[in-house]
Amino acid sequence: MDAQTLDAVLFAVVTALYAFSFGGFVSVLLRGSQRVEQLAVVVLGIALVAQLVRMSLVVSQSSLGGVQGLFAHRLSSVVAFAIGVAYLGARRFQRVSLLGAFVTPIALLLFVGSGLAQGSVLFEGSGSMAPGVPVPPHWHSALLPVHIGANVFGVAAFALACATAAAYLIQERLLRSKRVSGLFQRLPDLQALDRWSLRMDGLGFGLLTLGVVTGAMVTGSEFLGSLTVSRFVGLFCWVFFGSVLFMRVVAGWQGRRAAVGTVVGFVGLLVVLVGYAIGGSGVEG
């Protein structure tokens, strides 16, 4: 089996696993079953391992190698992976297991978006196996992986914040409409959801700040020279979620308004990311 075929097979496998995990989490949300939840978590873990294998394959095939090769595998796919890892990490420390139903569709959408890119699985040509656009040699430094990692996991933290905020909005809607059985009983209390969303917003903002600072240090005077998609994504996130945090602290935003702000911000980001995945290519597309 050549690398291109293996890549296509792994894409199909990972997509199916993400979809299965999503279905499992939705079933848990609607019907409540610990066994199904455990199964969904295991399937998500397998999906991430399969995706890691796929990314390793790309890195080994890419003439860029290392972080550049990984990033050339398309931003949205890497972000999907980071979201999955962040969710599994978060559920070890918080009772956020039910949020799987909100997190997995985001990861699935980003992953499929990366596969729909020109020349990837669905098209003949280079696509995800392409070498990508090389990073200029004078940008190479130890800060480059920190910059990329901080940005990717910052976006993943915002994805978790968005998932939590979406759960908040559903829970609040159920409470207002006084439908307080079933799903309402299974979802966490409003206070906990608001608190988790705030924490994820704060964490994401911190990571993106690190990403912006290291980005400026890596690119030097070129940082503000041209607004590429990846820079736009980073700056958009940083400004938007910074504003949400600001409104939370200064204007006392909490609950519904903060949740709406978080969801709107992340959906906007998602549109940019998926559009970028389908239309663009490489790290500085």
Partner: protein, 437 residues
């Protein structure tokens, strides 16, 4: 079916008691007042030779004596007389129910699963049952079969709670209010609850919130009356003129004044919400006519439930529990059947033990005769021969033992086995050891 074995009488589980389903409160309070489940009472019951084990459950809704006895009818009569003696002023016989064998275990499983409770699905009964059997275990009056029954009832109750929604959703207005408050704030510890006016339902709800660690303040329209009510309930009193500032710090407001016009209007609350910086506020209006304008419920991070809402939720939860009760009954039925099969299989235990003993004894005798004549055998060869003999015994007995275990104590099969193998007598301790397995 009452299993009769050739080994003599064995213990049967029995239950004698009365509950809210068979006796009015006047009778129940007479009996429960005279039956306090403690070690002395249990030992007193154990003095009756007909009773082998005993435990007593005494709550406001039921008094039940659980016992095992080789003579269940006689034991039921003895327990009935005992209960009557504890409530001499009332004729309790018409209100008593008596269960034995499979009916007794099934009844115990239903009680533990809260299917026989006044409020189906309530959790309190399981704690009371645990306590009753703990007292019996500590007093040494429930160590064998009865203890096994109790352990199984706990398992069944857990299964019912896990596999059905029988215990989900409160069915009392005050519990629903507390449950909803928890769904808004999570932990209610250190939360502030404001009582507007005093009423039985409001006080009950406030007391429930207080149990979770909430601070309660009371505001009335009349300062003196409000202060007296606050003292009675054991909460802090706030002067009526400080209502707005009290609303700023409150997390939960329970309103039950007798005012003819709304006390908390939309315009007033809009200002309050703004000054609170939109912190969540949970409002419960149990006054009729209502104290809080319905439009208040549309304000940001403000949640309003009135009496109709709470009663509708209680009704829905009750209906949900009724549906789940059907599933719970199936689980209880299944578990009771399995337990009865196990119980009946105990009747075959003495025969199985005797059969094994008899065959093993024959083999040992034959080995004892044969091995001395085979002096040329090494130690290892002798051990191999003994091992082979033991394996043959196990293989030969495997079929009969499996049949006996699966026969649910079929007396015909037990008789036939005993006749075939010439088993005549089994010591009583063999029987009791079988029961305790």
């Amino acid at each position: 079916m009452t299993p009769q074995t050739p080994t003599g009488p064995r213990a049967h589980p029995i239950i004698v008691g009365l509950s809210h389903q068979t006796a009015p409160i006047e009778v129940r309070e007479q009996v429960s007042g005279g039956v306090e489940a403690n070690g002395d009472l249990l030992r007193h019951l154990m003095e009756r030779p007909v009773i082998r084990e005993v435990a007593v459950l005494s709550t406001c809704n039921r008094v039940e004596v659980y016992a095992t006895s080789p003579h269940p009818d006689e034991a039921s009569e003895t327990v009935s007389e005992f209960l009557q003696s504890r409530a001499p002023a009332t004729q309790i016989a018409p209100h008593l129910y008596r269960h034995r064998d499979a009916h007794a275990t099934k009844h115990l499983f239903r009680v533990a699963s809260s299917l026989d409770s006044l409020v189906v699905g309530e959790a309190q009964i399981l704690g009371q049952l645990k306590q009753a059997f703990q007292v019996a275990a500590d007093s040494g009056t429930a160590r064998g079969f009865l203890h096994r029954c109790f352990e199984r009832s706990l398992f069944v109750a857990k299964r019912v709670r896990t596999e059905t929604g029988l215990a989900q959703g409160s069915v009392s207005v005050s519990s629903i209010a507390v449950e909803l408050a928890r769904k808004v704030f999570g932990d209610l510890n250190e939360r502030t609850v404001l009582l507007l006016g005093a009423g039985e339902m409001a006080e009950l709800t406030a007391q429930n919130l207080k149990k979770d660690g909430a601070h309660i303040h009371m505001v009335g329209r009349h300062a003196q009356r409000s202060e007296a009510a606050a003292q009675r309930v054991g909460v802090d009193s706030v002067p009526p003129e400080e209502l707005d500032s009290a609303l700023l710090t409150a997390d939960v407001v329970i309103s039950s004044t007798s005012a003819r016009e709304p006390v908390l209007t939309e315009s007033r609350m809009r200002e309050v919400v703004k000054r609170r910086k939109h912190r969540p506020l949970f409002l419960i209006d149990i006054a009729v006519p209502r104290d809080i304008e319905p439009a208040v419920g549309d304000l940001n991070n403000t949640y309003l439930f009135d009496m109709d809402d709470l009663q509708r939720i209680a009704q829905e939860n009750m209906e949900g529990r009724r549906e789940e009760a059907q599933r719970a009954e199936c689980i209880v039925e299944e578990e009771a059947r399995l337990f009865e099969q196990w119980r009946e299989s105990l009747d075959a235990q003495p025969t199985i033990l005797a059969l094994r003993e008899q065959v093993r004894s024959s083999v040992d005798t034959e080995l004892g005769k044969t091995l001395p004549r085979l002096s040329s055998l090494s130690t290892d060869e002798r051990k191999a021969l003994e091992h082979m003999a033991q394996s043959i015994v196990n293989r030969v007995l495997h079929g009969p033992v499996t049949q006996l275990k699966g026969s649910c104590g079929d007396p015909d099969l037990i008789h036939t086995t005993r006749r075939l193998f010439g088993i005549n007598d089994v010591a009583a301790d063999v029987e009791s050891s079988g029961e305790n397995k």
